[in-house]
């Protein structure tokens, strides 16, 4: 039922000084790429991708940016949150050689699919990027999977200076890939799609969400595609038909906001 299950936080971890992970119990099957609507009682309810998938425990990893994420940031072990989900489609690991590209908090939801790909013994390379060194997270976690990891920071304080797409362009030239999976700023993902040419491509989109189960219409893009149910993961075929992709999103009122 699309009703939040109220649960106690069983673990929290600061990934860096603006990014935190919260873990809680869960006994539903989850495909990496799916998300939950997280209710912070008295504050807001916001969509959050799953960043950790353990047996009966899942985690979300988020950045402090506004009222809800700030409130969430201040919660401690034992505090109550509500969670309804999982919602949406997940990534499909159809390919042997896969490139993962994560920008900003987008890295959070890529981590579990990277771990799954490793378990399936696929051949993978990972690029993660952030504005600056302090904002990076999950470097250690991804390295530990054994995946080949490339890092960029916009300001060059760590890894390659520049954007993830710069690294991607280079790697794609030199290697063969069956599939690219990405999550991050939409303009980055759009650019990556252009770069990817005819390599299969899946990107995770973010839109303002209210219901999460396909009724309110708040998250619709293109020809009425619901990001919450038909997405948030879309392949290049669909993305190419979505006129809004990389162009605009809508705010809570439905007004268009250019990227």
């Amino acid at each position: 039922m699309n009703y939040p299950l109220v649960t106690k936080i069983i673990e929290t971890k600061n990934e860096n000084n603006r990014i935190k992970t919260i873990k809680f119990e869960n006994n539903k099957k989850i495909t990496p790429g799916q998300f939950y609507m997280i209710w912070i009682p008295g504050v807001d309810e916001i969509p959050m991708s799953v960043s950790y998938i353990d047996k009966n425990i899942i985690g979300i990893t988020f950045k402090k940016i506004g009222e809800a994420t700030n409130a969430l940031f201040n919660l401690k072990k034992g505090d109550k949150i509500g969670a309804r989900g999982p919602y949406g489609t997940g990534f499909k690991l159809n390919g042997k050689k896969i490139l993962f590209v994560g920008g900003g908090t987008g890295v959070a939801m890529l981590a579990p699919v990277i771990e799954e790909a490793i378990k399936k013994k696929l051949n993978l390379k990972v690029i993660i990027g952030a504005k600056t060194k302090n904002e990076l997270f999950f470097e250690k976690r991804i390295k530990e999977t054994g995946a080949e990891l490339f890092i960029s920071t916009d300001d060059g304080t760590y890894g390659t200076k520049g954007f993830t797409t710069d690294i991607a362009e280079d790697i794609i030239k030199k290697n063969h890939f069956d599939l690219i999976l990405t999550c991050g700023p939409e303009l980055m993902m759009k650019k990556l799609m252009d770069i990817s040419k005819d390599i299969d491509f899946q990107a995770s989109l973010e839109r303002f969400m209210k219901c999460g189960f396909g009724i309110c219409g708040q998250c619709c893009i293109g020809d009425g595609i619901r990001v919450c149910t038909e997405g948030p993961i879309f392949n290049e075929k669909t993305l190419k038909k979505i006129q809004d992709f990389g162009i605009f999103k809508r705010d809570a009122s439905g007004k268009k906001i250019k990227f």
Binding site: M1, N2, Y3, P4, V6, M37, W39, P41, G42, V43, D44, E45, I46, K80, G82, R84, K210, C211, F213, G214, I215, C216, G217, Q218, C220, I221, G222, D223, G224, I225, R226, R250, D251, A252, S253, G254, K255, K256
Partner: protein, 302 residues
Amino acid sequence: MIEIPTKIANLRLKNPTILASGIMDEDAGSMIRIFKSGAGAIVTKSIGLKPREGYPNPSVIELECGLLNAMGLPNPGIEEFKSEVIKLKKSKVTVIGSIFGSNSKEFTVLGTKMQDAGVNALELNMSCPHAKGYGLEIGSDQKIVEKITTNVKSSVSIPVFVKISPNLTDIPKIAQSAEKGGADAIVAINTVKAMKIDIETQRPILSNKIGGYSGKAIKPIGIRCVYEIYKKVNIPIIGVGGINTGEDAIEYMMAGASAVQIGSAIYSRDIYVFEKICKEIKNWMKTNNYKKIDELIGVANL
């Protein structure tokens, strides 16, 4: 072959199933998609003069027998919304523009702008149960309902429908006020005022606390309202509330509805619900030897 075209005032519909206001109808893309997937017409999200973000989440959740929402009339405002209507008209979608305001002047301005943008008819939302200063607060006063309807009617030339609330002591009276004001049809019902308290956190789950109840739980309430209204007005009624199947739609018609709107069932039966319901209506008519939908309207009013 049984065909089920319908006419409400001078609005012709390919079939009597209409997308209800507030469900996947804030952007042209969705509305075109739903129209193409089988709806006879689309009612837009209720639009006001200025952009409104609506209430914070949670704004819609599922209950045991239906949905509970307090969106708070989020909308981008009529100026921005016009472009969506224009796109709809390019795609030849039959569209009913839903509008809300706090007084007769606002309704009139909105109605005129919607007409200019190209909608085929107007639906005046006088029944939202959870928006301060709008909706039900206006729609529970006979004089205001009549006045707004009269003023909107005199400033537009397209059909004007008035959507009314079940949260009233005397629903047919409000319907009669709309009729007096010149409404071309009554739309009934909007959601039922309701609430869910989450006992784990000891608070109402919706950020707005009180919300509107929709879905199958409210069908018997909607049927009763349509039945009561049918006895008291001479204009067509569009039935809404908990319609999930062709049988549900037929039940509304027998109560007195000339057409139906469908909202929450998009969740239970997906956007193809319109096509499915039309098929079920036709099958039922075939089995029961009906040729025209008109033969069903109001037959249960003995």
